[in-house]
């Protein structure tokens, strides 16, 4: 599959960015249309521990309990659409566990669609178990063959009934971990922005081919392993691990990486946990899945409302299957998603969608620097910086990081966005570090390869360099 980098913005103006509508809507599954004028709830879940030990128990957990509960709640509450996402647990790299689940989930989606007319679809998200110290490319990991298994998992998902295909790829993670723990923005730029983009481009060309062969929609990816680690460690107001200004810059850099799946021919929707979605959507016009206020079952972030302002699917991130007073956890959290989505879709019907979008955005705009850069006007500015440097994986990631830093500093200077002394200090340090980097890609790679040669598990050969 040919790679076509984004060098122009899909939207002319930030004001065009809004939930429920994307420039390039996608249809799949049993009647699902994403980005075509209404937002769709996407429920995600995890099986109970121990269920993975028995093939039939595992299938029942995913199909007869989790999916059936979700579909029953969707019908009970009158939802017109439901997308479900299975993020494969590591044991699903075995055919005997994966195939009955994938096939069974598609079957139950079809059953409810036929019986009730509800539009349904399954997203299958495969695990990327590749380990940098063993090797990310086929032939390198002689012990566990994880690079080969990654492709095998994609084939298993696509050949057995997935409607949308996704992955949470890990390319660049070894440097992202180093960057987040050391507060080193250059390591993040090199690992995620540059090497991660190379890795994504490599694997997504193959994924898109597999999807096309099996008539499956290639959705997209996320930098969950990098920017989300950064965001979670930055945490809320009681946490003190990573500065939120640093985390915001890593998010902007990650958006240049996440775009690579779409540049390889994936059509969206990308992954819910990619909080970089507003930036990616601004560049590409493809639909995005997001999460926020209704994913408190999984984690607390500081942009719970704001993330809804440009979404096309609205997700709960993930919840372990267990009983609650109101039904199973899956049913309860879907109920919460469904009502939020109904609010968004009502606003579209009443012509009040831009007002609701702005309300979502303003409630969190100054809650923290990460929210601030993901507000749709700022997301558009970062997207433009990427598109202006679209053909160079290094320069566009750097531009994304530098633009985010400037947006935050301008917000602080204009007294719109409060920052702590430490947040400001780290922001300015990141700016200095990025400004000192060379413009020449080869020089940057040479510099970073030497600088990070002792980072555990880092091996430039993993990226074909």
């Amino acid at each position: 599959m040919a790679v076509s980098r984004y060098t122009k913005m899909a939207y002319k103006d930030a004001d065009e960015l809004i939930f429920g509508r994307a420039q390039h809507p996608v249809s799949y599954g049993f009647g699902i249309k994403v980005g075509a004028g209404r937002v769709i709830p996407e429920i995600n879940y995890a099986p109970r521990p121990g269920t993975e030990r028995d093939v039939e128990k595992f299938r029942r957990e995913y199909v007869d309990y989790i999916c059936k509960d979700a579909l029953d709640r969707a019908v009970t509450a009158g939802m017109p659409d439901l997308q479900m996402e299975t993020e494969w647990v590591s044991q699903m790299n075995q055919k005997k566990l994966a195939v009955p689940v994938v096939a069974g989930q598609t079957e139950i989606c079809e059953k409810y669609h036929e019986e009730y007319g509800i539009n349904t679809a399954m997203r299958q998200t495969i695990p990327d178990q590749r380990e940098a110290d063993q090797g990310l490319r086929p032939g390198m990991d002689k012990e566990r063959n994880y690079p080969e298994k990654l492709i095998e998992c994609a084939e298993m998902a696509c050949e057995n009934g997935a409607h949308v295909f996704s992955v949470e790829s890990m390319g660049g993670k070894e440097l992202a971990d180093h960057a987040v723990t050391q507060g080193d923005v250059v390591a993040f730029l090199f690992g995620v922005g540059y090497l991660g983009s190379i890795d994504m481009t490599y694997i997504w060309q193959q994924f898109v081919d597999i999807c096309k062969k099996n008539k499956v929609t290639p959705g997209g990816d996320t930098n969950c392993s990098g920017a989300n680690t950064s965001m979670f460690m930055a945490g809320g107001f009681l946490d003190n691990d990573v500065q939120r200004t640093f985390s915001a810059i890593t998010r902007a850099i990650a958006s240049a990486r996440t775009l690579c799946a779409w540049e390889c021919g994936a059509t969206g929707p990308d992954k819910d946990c990619g909080y970089e979605g507003p930036i990616c959507k601004a560049v590409a016009g493809k639909p995005t899945s997001q999460e926020g206020k209704n994913c408190q079952c999984a984690h607390c972030d500081l942009q719970g409302n704001l993330m809804a302002s440009t979404c096309d699917l609205w997700s709960n991130e993930s919840v372990e299957y267990h009983p609650e007073f109101g039904g199973s956890s899956v049913a309860c959290w879907l109920g919460s998603l469904g009502y939020e989505v109904a609010l968004m879709n009502t606003s579209i019907q009443l012509g009040q969608d831009k007002t609701l979008r702005d309300l979502y955005m303003y409630t969190d705009r100054i809650r923290g620097p990460e929210a601030y850069i993901l507000a749709y006007d700022h997301a558009f500015m970062i997207g433009k910086a990427i598109a202006d440097n679209g053909n160079n994986l290094y320069l566009r990631s750097k531009a994304a990081g530098e633009t985010a830093a400037k947006i935050i500093l301008d917000g602080y200077n204009s007294k719109e966005l409060p920052l702590t002394k430490k947040q400001l200090e780290v922001l300015q340090d990141c700016q200095k570090q990025m400004a000192a980097l060379p413009d020449d890609e080869a020089k940057f790679v040479e510099y970073c390869t030497k600088l990070y040669k002792d980072v555990p598990a880092f091996n430039i050969k993993n990226y074909g360099l």
């Binding site: 995890a46 521990p49 380990e131 971990d177 723990t181 702005d358 702590t420």
Partner: protein
Amino acid sequence: MLSSKGVDFSGILRRYDVDQQVAATPQEMAKEMLPHDPVFKKVAEEVLYMRFKTVAPVVNEALKEKKPLDVINEGLVAGMEIVAKLYAEHVYYLPEIMMAAKTMEIGIALAEKKLEGGKMKAKATVIMHAAEGDPHDIGKNIAAIMTKAAGYDVIDMGRDVPVEDVVAKTMEVKPLFVSGTALMTTTMSAFPRIAAGFMAKGLSIPFMGCGGAVNREYANSYDLGIYSDKAAQTPPIADKILAGYDWKKVREEWDNIIRGE
């Protein structure tokens, strides 16, 4: 875009991070905590201010007039203890902890060369790993550095470690405790199997369950299981085990331990 002009956001959200930030600088806060002896003070400051490029000459200079063990304990470790206090007060953050620990390690390695026996005696040995099937190990790596900085030897088995390998290594080393990290509900199910493996071999070593998917209820649901919610909680729990707490007492006293009591 709607205009937000004139909106009073104080009733919508409170930026507690800005409101509650500590005004004092690290220098001001550390002033009263640094050693009085000028040689040890200089060494401690190298760690406190994360000067990993200059710690070597400062330690070498100190070793000319002080005993190696004293340079370690009263200089390097004393500096790290101040770093831990600044972290607890939200003045220092994770990157400072990591860089200070790196600085301390450089200094200790130099002092150990002059030490009779060649190596400082660790408080005890601990084994850490990320669960079988789980590639997520950042939390384990941070906990390992914090535990090392607190004076323990850490055997880091890496990630995606099979149950039987953890049991075999534990049999061989007989550590103070073993920790496992998991980010998936289906990988943390390795933990009760590891604990059962310990018991089958006659070991009563505590097994600490950690990671995003793990909660206290799960970690306490099988014999030998104890819990750590955050990397920074691991050293105080280790200290209590070293002081003689078994897994049952760690569970009973857990709330007090993490409050530093």
